[in-house]
Structures are given as C-alpha cells and as structure tokens.
Amino acid sequence: MSSDAIVPLLLTLKVASLATVLASIVGIALGKWLGRHRTFTRNVAESLLTLPLVLPPTVLGYYLLVVLGRNGFIGEWLMRWFGVSLIFTWQGAVIAASIAAFPLILRAARASFSDVDAQLENAARSLGASETEVFFRATLPLAWRGILAGALLAFARAMGEFGATLMVAGSLPGRTQTLSLAIYDAVMAGDDARAESMVIISLIAAVVLLIFAAQLLQRRKHT
C-alpha cells in the first residue's frame, strides 16, 4: 500500500470512529426517548431526525455551513468564546460525518429498545431498580446487538461520507482529506493507480463491516 493511501485512511478511521461515538451517544438517547409507544408526535420526530439519511449530502453540508459558519449561531458563538472555527478542520468533518450517520443508529436503537420485553423492565423495577439501573442493567444489555449493528452501519456511512464533509471541511490533503475525498482527488488528477488502491481499501472495509453487522443480528443466544 502506498503511503499516499495511508494518511487518508488513518484520517478516515479517526473521523469515522469519533463520528460513530458521537452519533451513538445522541442516537441511543433519542432512540430511548422516542420509546416503544408510537404516537403521532414521536413518529413525526423520528421522521425529522431521519432526514440526514435521505437528504442530498450537499443540502446537509449547506445547513451545517449555515449553523457552523462564521455567521452561523453556533459558529459565531464558538469563535467569540473559544476563538475556534470548525470550518476546514477535521473536527468539522467529524460533525458532518456524525450527522450523516446518526439516523442509522437512531432507527436501530429505537427498534431494538421496542423489541425488549417490557415485562423484563417491570421485573427490574419490582426488584428495586431505579430507571437508570433498569436502562443499564436490563434494557441496554438486551438491546445492544441491534444497536451495535446500527453503529457498524453508521461507521460505514461515516467512512464513506463525501458531500457534507467536502462542504464543511474541504479536501485538504493530510488535514481533512478522507479516503473518499482522496479518491475523487486522485481520479481528477488522473492518478489511477492511487485511486485504485484506495477504492479497494474502501471496498474491503465496507464489506467487512456489513458482514459483522449481519452476524450480530443473527446470533441471539441469551438475548
């Protein structure tokens, strides 16, 4: 593997991992909040939260620029109080990738939580568990397979993020140029050999992640 591919690969792994962690925390919390009862309001909320999955990534990138940019309300606040800007940074790429990947975790989490037998949560309550204890000792251990499968898909999605990342973080080699951006760059520059090696890496990573996710959803001993 050429060293040309290693730098974007490592950056991609860093960005996708952090984005998945971020998306998991928010996705699990919101998935729990949406809950098992399908009311109209909650279904509308779930639809709105799923938007990043179906919107063109450029639309997502546009809104991220609006919010995180120099005049955006978070961007301005960050600049005024911390003197930092997320635009054209790898941290900005993390934000873009996590928002693009987040609906995959949210939907997996909500579905997995709904599948948990409510009677088991009641059993935990009757044994003196607080709601936090019920969540960490009954609900989450019973739902983790589905959530982890969702997280793997989210990781794959984050690895492949292109449009929103390009708009928010740009394509700065060594700094914000992830694998998918580097492939585009290489093809545009006519460097087919470099593009090919990175395409193969991406392909292998995606296939491995999908196989793992499928395995997780299949094996269900004890849970």
């Binding site: 088991l120 009757s126 044994l127 960490f136 019973l142 004890h222």
Partner: protein
Amino acid sequence: MRIAVDIEKKLRDASREFHLCMRFESDADVTVLYGESGAGKSLTVLAIAGLIRPDKGRITVDDRALFDSAHRIDVRARHRNIGLVFQDYALFPHLTVLQNIAFAQNRGWFNRRTVDADARATMASMQLDALADAYPSDLSGGQRQRVALARALASRPRLLLLDEPFSALDSALRDRLRDELIDTRRRAGIPMIVITHNADDVAAFGGKLVRVRDGRVAD
C-alpha cells in the same frame, strides 16, 4: 399483615372495553385470587406491585398507603418492597441464574459477576446451586419457576405476589412445586397473594379465597 385493595381502572382497546373494579381485604398468610383468565387478576396484582396505575382507589399494606388517588399517593414500584413472580417468570435472559437471583442486591449500573453471600444463601436454600452459572434459556420450566421465586425472595419483600406460578408446568411437577412453594413461604414468613385458575391450587393453598369474575370480586 393486612392488605386492603379498593381500585378501579378502565382499559380500552380496539376490540373490547374492560372495567376493573376490585375490592378485597385480607390478613391471611395466603390470599388466593381465583378466576378465569381475563378476569382481571393479573391487573390487580400488577397494580399492587405498582407496575400499572389504577384510575382511582386505594391500596394499603398494614397502614401504609401504596396508592391513594384521593391523596395523590403513588409509591414507585421499586420502593414498594413487594416481590413479584411473573406468569412467564420474566427471568433476565442475559444473566446467569446467580446474577438473576442477586439482581435486587446489586446496586449500580452494572450486572456484576461476583455477588454477595446473601444471594448465594437464597440460591442454596432453593437447591439451585448446581445451576448458578446456567442461563435461563438452558433451564426447564420447573427450574425457571424456582429461579423466579428465589429472585423475588432475595429482594427480601414484605409481600410476595405470584401470577399463575404453575401455569407453564405439567400436573405432576405442578403438585410438587406447589408443596415446595407452600413450604418456602412458611420458612420465609412472608405473606403472599397468588393468582390461579386451577381448583386444585385453591384447595392446596387454603388461606383466604377471593373469587374474581369480569373484573370484580364475585360474591
């Protein structure tokens, strides 16, 4: 111990409307709620445990109100200190027998692997030692029933509720486990309310009989 229940709850779904209106008192060691399935026995027990909320009424154990709509009292399930054995046992499938039994004594966010002597003692008293590291999916129906009972007892409840504890078992096993339950209860000295639709259970348990029909106590 004196248990007084006087509750109402309306339930509605697409196919039917059910009106629960239960009123009974008991100071017996064993109180049997007897009636056909769908009569409202399970709802009553879930309400006593604090897992469903009645529309109105009162539930008191001795002189302590667990639920009182007039005074806006509704003690949370986890503070009621009432042991409940569910009809399908509701054992935690991700935990071993020992971890299931120790669930109430473990505090915090994690299901620990090591448990204190108390849970082991309860397990031993129910002759479940050999199964300590087994998972519920490996157990027979009778073993599951025993684990569920041990788990409820290990929380040191002041009242034990059992919802059709033998319905999943064949009749020979049923007779044996019933005797075992009566014996265990006597040793633990905890009053219990047991639900059944089986006339043999009623005869064997003795105690106070409450006949339930269509959501009410039948005369």
